[in-house]
C-alpha cells in the first residue's frame, strides 16, 4: 500500500490550484491512453504519480474554499468551484484506472496497439541523463518539431510539473520529459535525452 501524506494547509490562490488541477488532469488523460494502448509502463507510472499530486491539490483547494466562505452568497458560489474541482479529480482517477490496465499487467490486446500505431501519435517519457547534449539547452533551441517531428508537452522536475513548457525553458539533467510525436521521432529523441550509446549494427 502506498504511503499517504498528510496534506498541510498553505495559502495558494484557488484559481492557481484549480488551473493546475485542470492542466494536470488533461495531461493525465493523454498519458494514460498512450500508456494503455502502447503498453508503456513508464508512462503508466507517471500517471500514478500525477494522480497523487491531483489528490493533494484537491485537498488544498477544499481547505482554501472553506476558509474563503464567509456567508451564504460565498457558499453558493464556492460550491460550484468545489464541484468542478471534484470533477477534475474524477478525471484524474479515471486516468489512473486506465494506467492500472498496464501496471496490473492486464494490457489491451496487442493487435489494438498495432492498429493504433497507424492512426495516433504516441507519447513517451525520457529521463535526461547528466551527460546528455540537451542539458542546459532551451526547449526552443532544440528545434525538435522540425528535426524529428517531436514536441515536448511536459517536464517533470522532481515533484514539480511544467505543462507546455515555453521555448525559453532550460532543460536540466534529471528532468523527466514527456514528448509527443511519431514513433521513429520519439525513439530518436529518447536516445538523445538518455544519451545511450548508439547500437552497433552487426
Amino acid at each position: 500500500m502506498r504511503a499517504l501524506e498528510k496534506v498541510k494547509y498553505r495559502s495558494v490562490p484557488v484559481r492557481d490550484l484549480f488551473l493546475e488541477m485542470k492542466n494536470l488532469s488533461e495531461l493525465m488523460i493523454d498519458l494514460a491512453y498512450s500508456a494503455a494502448l502502447f503498453n508503456d509502463r513508464e508512462l503508466a507510472e507517471e500517471v500514478m504519480e500525477l494522480e497523487n499530486r491531483v489528490d493533494t491539490l484537491d485537498y488544498l483547494l477544499e481547505m482554501t474554499i472553506m476558509i474563503a466562505a464567509r456567508d451564504a452568497h460565498d457558499a453558493e458560489a464556492l460550491a460550484g468551484v468545489s464541484a468542478a474541482a471534484s470533477a477534475a479529480d474524477k478525471i484524474s482517477d479515471a486516468a489512473a484506472d486506465i494506467a492500472a490496465i498496464v501496471t496490473q499487467n492486464i494490457g489491451v490486446h496487442p493487435i489494438v496497439s498495432q492498429v493504433f500505431e497507424k492512426v495516433e501519435e504516441r507519447l513517451m517519457q525520457a529521463k535526461v541523463s547528466a551527460g546528455s547534449s540537451i542539458v542546459g539547452k532551451r526547449v526552443g533551441e532544440l528545434d525538435l518539431a522540425a528535426r524529428m517531428g517531436v514536441d515536448i508537452i511536459a517536464v517533470r522536475r522532481d515533484k514539480d510539473w511544467i505543462i507546455n513548457p515555453e521555448n525559453t525553458e532550460q532543460i536540466r539533467g534529471g528532468d523527466v520529459l514527456i514528448a509527443r510525436g511519431v514513433q521513429s521521432g520519439i525513439r530518436e529523441f529518447k536516445e538523445l535525452a538518455e544519451q545511450k550509446p548508439r547500437r552497433r549494427e552487426d
Binding site: 458560489a77 464541484a83 470533477a87
Partner: protein, 192 residues
C-alpha cells in the same frame, strides 16, 4: 492469419477511437464552458454525454460479441476497462458543465484575468466559397490568421475534436474561442 485478426479488430478500434475522441472533446468543451462561463458550450457537453453513453454500450456489445480465444481474455478485459474509464471521463466533463448550467455566478476566487474574461465563443459556418474548404487545420493556420482557437468542429450532428490533420469541409461549423475582432476575421475566412 495476422491479417484476419487485424480485420477483426478494426471495428473495435474504430469505435474505441470515437469514444475516446468524444470524451476528450467533452473535457475541452467543459473546461472552456466553465472558464468562459458559456452556457451554449455547457449544453453541447450535455448532448455529447448522451452520445457517449450510447457509444459506450455499442462498444461493450461489440467487444463481448467478438469471438475471442481463452488466452485473449485479458486483452479483451483491458479493452472493457478502457471503455469504462472513458465513460467516467465523460461523466466528469458533464459534472463540470452542470456547474455552468445551474447558473451559479463564478466566485471571484475563480476570476480570470481580464484578457480571458473578454473572450467569447463563436459558431462560424464554412461556406462553399471559403478558402478553408479542403484544408487541414494545420494548413488553415486559423489561430495565426485570426487569433481564434478552434474548440471543436460540428459536422451534421457529429462533433470532431480538432487535430492538425482534421480536414475542413463545406457546411462544417467551427466552434472557436477568442476576442470579438477575431470572430470577424474568422467569419471572413469561412465565407470566401
Amino acid at each position: 492469419m495476422a491479417q484476419q485478426d487485424q480485420a477483426r479488430f478494426e471495428e473495435i478500434v474504430e469505435r474505441l477511437v470515437e469514444l475516446k475522441d468524444t470524451s476528450e472533446l467533452m473535457i475541452d468543451l467543459a473546461y472552456s464552458s466553465l472558464l468562459l462561463n458559456n452556457r451554449e458550450l455547457a449544453e453541447e457537453v450535455q448532448r455529447l454525454e448522451e452520445r457517449v453513453d450510447k457509444l459506450h454500450t455499442d462498444f461493450e456489445l461489440l467487444v463481448l460479441k467478438s469471438e475471442f480465444k481463452k488466452e485473449e481474455a485479458k486483452g479483451f478485459l483491458g479493452l472493457i476497462r478502457l471503455g469504462v474509464a472513458t465513460e467516467k471521463i465523460a461523466d466528469a466533463a458533464a459534472q463540470i458543465s452542470e456547474v455552468v448550467l445551474r447558473g451559479i455566478e463564478p466566485h471571484p476566487v475563480l476570476q480570470l484575468s481580464i484578457r480571458e474574461a473578454e473572450e467569447t465563443v463563436a459558431y462560424v459556418p464554412v461556406t462553399k466559397d471559403s478558402q478553408l474548404v479542403d484544408k487541414t487545420l494545420a494548413e488553415a493556420r486559423i489561430p495565426e490568421e485570426t487569433g481564434m482557437w478552434i474548440l471543436a468542429i460540428r459536422r451534421g450532428n457529429k462533433y470532431i475534436r480538432p487535430k492538425p490533420d482534421s480536414r475542413i469541409e463545406v457546411g462544417d461549423v467551427l466552434i472557436a474561442s477568442g476576442y470579438a475582432d477575431g470572430v470577424e476575421s474568422l467569419k471572413k475566412l469561412s465565407a470566401r
